[in-house]
Amino acid sequence: MDLRDTPAEAEFREELRAWIDANLPAEKRGGRGGAQRFEDPFVREWSRKLYEAGYAGLTWPKEYGGAGAPYSFQAILYEELAAAQAAAHVGVIGLGMAGPTIIAHGTEEQKARYLRPILAADEIWCQGFSEPDAGSDLAAVRTRAERRGDVYAVNGQKVWSSFAHIADFCILVARSDPGAPRYRNLTYLIVDMHASGVEVRPLRQLTGEAEFNEIFFSDVEVPVENRLGDEGEGWQVAMTTLLHERATLGFAFTATLDATVGRLLEEARERELGPRLREAVAREWIELQALRYTNYRALGAYERTGVPGPEGSAVKLRWSEANQRLTKLARELLGPEGILDDGWWNHQQLRSRGNTIEAGTSEVLRNIIAERVLGLPRSR
């Protein structure tokens, strides 16, 4: 156990800090997230800079444009980007989900074709998993992928898809064999979002923004070579995607919380707070440290086994609740300004309601913990 950076980590951190200082203008720090993640043209420019400097896909193999670095470097990147209140790379879905899934299950042709443009932010990806009638119950997807010679004809509807309106590709889970048993009837496809029959409609959320979209597929022809894994093995491939979502997102979640807590502390320092609010601020800082060091422990396990441990579910669950509490707390700190402010904190509070729903609802995560970690009997 040694919580200090190794010499290599320290060197990486120092170079990274200097690079961020030189490349990230002050006015581009402290963005509020949400739709800003794709509306501001700077975010794509910034993503490209990250790639050119070698900071995109740090842990990806070198032959696909990555740096082949250990996961601890990825953790340092998240920490330093959070400390600088920098925007994340726009290719969130490509980097965190599509890319790792292609690396794990893709053919050499697929790897050569898709991976590098993800890193360079030349191509944006979105995720086609959730449907109106398949949210937590992913295996219940109804979107059909019907084999017709060399193509799959895709018909159906996906929902809650971030980045779909600017995406070039979609990772799609569709039902390919309606007669096959559950978990054996799905196929995982890479769908060209510019193909004929794909229609994207923005989904306005309670913040007033439209970060998410609905995607409609009408007889969209997807070449068979765009399949990831075998026909009927889509569930297993999708599990890889979700596993990686949890493994890498812990640090990303904590990084955003870090930036938000930093802002909360700034607000708190500007005011004379009574003991109740001071204690509440400290509680959120403590929760942040607990999440941070849980990520480090999970990282240790991940580096040894290559498989994300169960801590990821705990981090996502607690992060989402922490973010909701602390946005509330910030508005309380603001006092009467709290209801007038239609800026940063109000947006955060409204947006945070999605945190316990997206990327696994808290209820599903508690089920996962109860069943897969604690070994309790299945509830359904």
Binding site: L3, R278, A282, W285, R366, N367, I369, A370, L376, P377
Partner: protein
């Protein structure tokens, strides 16, 4: 950075778990004050420095002692008093000849120890009027301050607090494990009650508490062991979090157990009382958070 226990640390933890499970099983005589102190000395737990080990290893032992609800004054001697002691005194502690505690808030742990550290560094023989505490294995009292002698060492508050946090972590883990076991085996309406989310979800919440507490405790223990400048704030954070987590873990576990969890016969109340003692001894969680706030908001 490498935030994982080494093979040696994992082995030490497992050996402690096994030894304690054998000597202090759940079905033991809970009224017995037998604490097998001489065996602790033989195991080397009373002087880990002798084996080249440090506070991270002591914290792991404390975690396991909490897991077993160990009745003796290990935390008081090794966790609280040790930094005050001279090399000679430490040698006597290591040999199992002396047991120590410290005076906090004027009501020190008095029973089952030989000396008490009080008045900012004075050792007194542990004499005075004993007072029962919420945890009967930790008798407190009003110290009769006579025959005091100055001590060579210093106070190490972060270390003492982290010791409490480590023990609380073990208590929380045990309460969780007992709750899980019960939820798997207790049948109602024809099913194990763990099938019902109303039972399983609070246990899942406890799991997240335990994992987060473990991260804070190991972080604080590492800071203490390395003399890191963040030790005071890490220790305050870990202690506030872990002691509250232990109390909540026991409360949820009692609820998951239903009627049996409310009986004297079931051992859960022993762990609950240990958790309440840990939460109440020294600065309470709210005070610790105010300390953290003072450090953050300067």
């Amino acid at each position: 950075m490498d935030f994982a226990l080494s093979e040696e640390q994992l082995e030490l933890k497992q050996a402690a778990r096994d030894w304690l499970a054998d000597r202090f099983p759940l079905d033991r005589d809970w009224e017995s004050t037998e604490d097998r102190w001489a065996e602790l000395a033989e195991l080397g737990w009373l002087d880990v420095a002798e084996a080249g080990l440090g506070f991270v290893e002591e914290a792991l032992l404390l975690e396991e002692l909490g897991y077993a609800c160990y009745p003796g004054p290990y935390i008081a001697t090794v966790g609280f008093a040790l930094p005050w002691l001279s090399a000679e005194q430490r040698a006597r502690v290591g040999a199992g000849e002396e047991r120590w505690s410290v005076d906090v808030d004027g009501v020190p742990w008095l029973g089952s120890v030989d000396f008490v550290v009080s008045d900012g560094g004075t050792a007194y023989p542990a004499r005075g009027q004993e007072v029962a505490s919420v945890d009967p294995s930790r008798p407190m009292g009003r110290l009769e301050k006579a025959d005091g002698e100055p001590l060579a060492g210093n106070r190490n508050l972060p270390r003492a607090r982290t010791a409490s946090a480590a023990e609380a972590l073990g208590v929380a883990q045990r309460a969780l494990d007992l709750g899980i076991e019960h939820a798997k085996t207790r049948l109602q309406f024809g099913k194990p009650i763990g099938t019902y989310q109303a039972v399983s979800h609070p246990l899942a919440q406890t799991y997240t508490d335990v994992e987060l507490a473990r991260s804070l405790v190991y972080w604080a223990a590492w800071c203490v062991a390395e003399g890191d400048e963040r030790a005071p704030i890490a220790a305050a954070a870990a202690t506030a979090f872990a002691t509250e987590a232990a109390v909540a873990a026991c409360e949820r576990s009692i609820q998951a157990h239903g009627g049996i969890g409310f009986t004297w016969e079931h051992p859960l109340h022993r762990f609950y009382k240990r958790a309440l003692w840990l939460e109440g001894f020294g600065a309470r969680p709210a005070e610790l958070r105010l300390e953290v706030a003072n450090a953050l908001l300067e």
